[in-house]
């Protein structure tokens, strides 16, 4: 409770500083425009930002579907069958060490500078951690639970629906958390590099004309997107009735991914 209040105080403090420091002239407006001028810049160009947000959200949504759907599907196959695992896992693991962003120019050649190249890049970017986490989640299911289910007469289908899927949910969700965040990163970064629309494109265009308030307005939008995504994942986790022990297993996997053991090279 106290930690929470403190956290809120820190956020409020940062917001106040954001407004006061540039206003007092301690930080030049070019480096950090004040919060009010950032919001005003965003408000004045609301239509432009709205359109850019729509483009970016569309790209994120489609990439998320590809990354998460594909990641869970392939992760489940790779996690439950040893032969594909032997074939695919070493490839995926070394692919994970490659800075995938080098592929983006290739995608623009293949797919053009529209949404397709962003979706392709972000999908692959978010797909890998989702797949790895799902595979790990399925592989780490306690075989004793499956044996117990079998002793109670569970059929293969029942074991899948009543044991394997619920047991894998925490790890899969932690994979979605990382994979989904990377999808947002992938979309925004690719928009900043080569594109003609989207928030990333706006940020980089306003940066070239040194219009800091408009740059920061874009940054703020990306920030809100990330926070909204995180809140949504938390909501799903609660809805999925994450139990204590499972939560811990999922948390460990998330920590492992977060601590750099499975960190992608950007």
């Amino acid at each position: 409770m106290r930690a929470k209040t403190l956290r809120h105080l820190i956020v409020v403090g940062l917001i106040v500083l954001w407004e006061l420091l540039p206003r007092a002239g301690l930080i030049p407006e070019l480096f950090l425009p004040s919060l009010s001028s950032t919001l005003l810049a965003g408000w004045n160009e609301a239509a432009e930002y709205g359109h850019a947000l729509a483009v970016t959200l569309y790209e994120v949504a489609v990439s998320m579907a590809f990354a998460c759907g594909g990641g869970i599907l392939l992760g489940a196959i790779v996690g439950s069958l040893p032969r594909p695992r032997l074939l695919i896992m070493p490839m995926v693991s070394s692919l994970y060490a490659v800075p995938l962003v080098i592929l983006y120019p290739v995608f623009t050649v293949w797919l053009g500078i529209g949404s397709e190249s962003k979706i392709a890049f972000a999908s692959i970017y978010g797909f890998l951690p989702t797949m790895l986490a799902t595979a790990a989640g399925i592989q780490t299911i306690d075989p004793q639970l499956l044996l117990a289910a079998r002793s109670m007469g569970a059929t293969l289908n029942q074991r899948l629906v009543r044991v394997i899927i619920p047991a894998a949910i925490p790890t899969v969700l932690s994979g979605l958390r990382v994979g989904g965040a990377l999808v947002i990163v992938g979309v925004v970064v690719s928009e900043m590099l080569i594109s003609s629309a989207g928030i990333g494109y706006l940020i980089s265009r306003y940066r070239t004309i040194l219009d800091s308030p408009h740059v920061f307005a874009g940054v703020l939008l990306v920030l809100f997107m990330a926070i909204a995504f995180n809140t949504a994942i938390r909501w799903i986790e609660r809805k999925a009735a994450i139990w204590q022990t499972g939560m811990r297993a999922g948390q460990n996997a998330a920590d492992e991914i977060g601590s750099g053991a499975m960190q992608p090279a950007t």
Binding site: L147, M152, V163, A167, A241, Q244, T245
Partner: protein
């Protein structure tokens, strides 16, 4: 009209809980050689008996138990429960309790106990009633809403026993169920198990490493030798019931434990 006594029943009356093991062998084939895990094991267990399998690690006692549960196929020989073979698990005839409680962590205690019934599509109300009865039987009345991580090791194993009994099978197979518990809990659970056994009249086959536990619980102790697993002794435990803590230090108890120990020492 024909007198009822002359009508032949369609099925012979079930020999509730009888287990017959006939010349069972198990060979594990590895690339370099064949390992004989069990060799020519024959055994008759009468309904309602409490039978303990003991032996050193690797004597195949757990393997034998898994075969009785229909969880593993033997290489040769036959196993029948109530007169019929058991090619796959049949929760109507056999309940199994493992060393790990193997409870599903995302289900409450009562949902765990209901699980085998849910697999068969038993209606919710009936499931709940049976689960409550079972939890009461194992002394966990009022703990049904807890998740496994909110229960102690002994309580988890009680839930596991309740789950094994919920379909009212005549046979309960237990694979070192108390091995992971501390000494005190283990003693209490032994007494609890004997009480449950006395109330339900099940045939219990119990695998353990502990000689004291074996003699304390059993009507009969079956001693097995290490690879190839064979039955080297089959002894009756004539101690009266209920078993008490004082018996542990008695001469009769000591003599039985020594006899088992001599077999095991010889083979170890």
């Amino acid at each position: 009209m024909q007198p009822l006594a002359n009508v032949t029943p369609l099925k012979p009356p079930p020999r509730a809980g009888a287990i017959e093991v006939r010349n069972v062998g198990q060979v594990f084939r590895t690339r370099s050689q064949d390992v004989v895990a069990l060799e020519d094991v024959s055994l008759d267990i009468k309904p309602g008996r409490f039978v303990v399998l003991v032996g050193p690690s690797g004597c195949g006692k757990s393997t034998l138990l898994m075969m009785m549960a229909g969880l593993r196929a033997q290489t040769s020989g036959t196993i029948t429960i109530n007169g019929a073979p058991i090619p796959q698990p049949d929760p109507d005839r056999v309940g199994v309790v493992f060393q790990e409680p193997s409870l599903f962590p995302w289900l409450t205690a009562e949902d765990n106990v209901e699980f085998p019934l849910a697999l068969r599509g038993v209606a919710k109300a009936e499931r709940r009633d049976k689960a409550q009865d079972m939890l009461k039987l194992v002394g966990l009345d009022g703990f049904g809403r807890r998740h496994p991580h909110e229960l102690s090791g002994g309580m988890k194993q009680r839930v596991s026993i309740a789950r094994g009994l919920v379909q009212d099978p005549p046979v309960l197979l237990m694979d070192e169920p108390f091995a992971a518990l501390d000494e005190q809990t283990r003693m209490t659970m032994g007494d609890e198990l004997l009480r449950i056994w006395a109330t339900t009249g099940k045939t219990v086959v119990f695998v353990t490493h502990s000689l004291t536990e074996a003699v304390y619980l059993a009507d009969e102790v079956i001693v097995m030798s290490p690879r190839p697993g064979r039955i080297v002794d089959h002894l009756q435990v004539p101690l009266p019931r209920p078993r008490t803590y004082e018996m542990l230090s008695g001469d009769a108890f000591g003599a039985l434990r020594d006899r088992i120990w001599r077999h095991i020492r010889k083979s170890a």
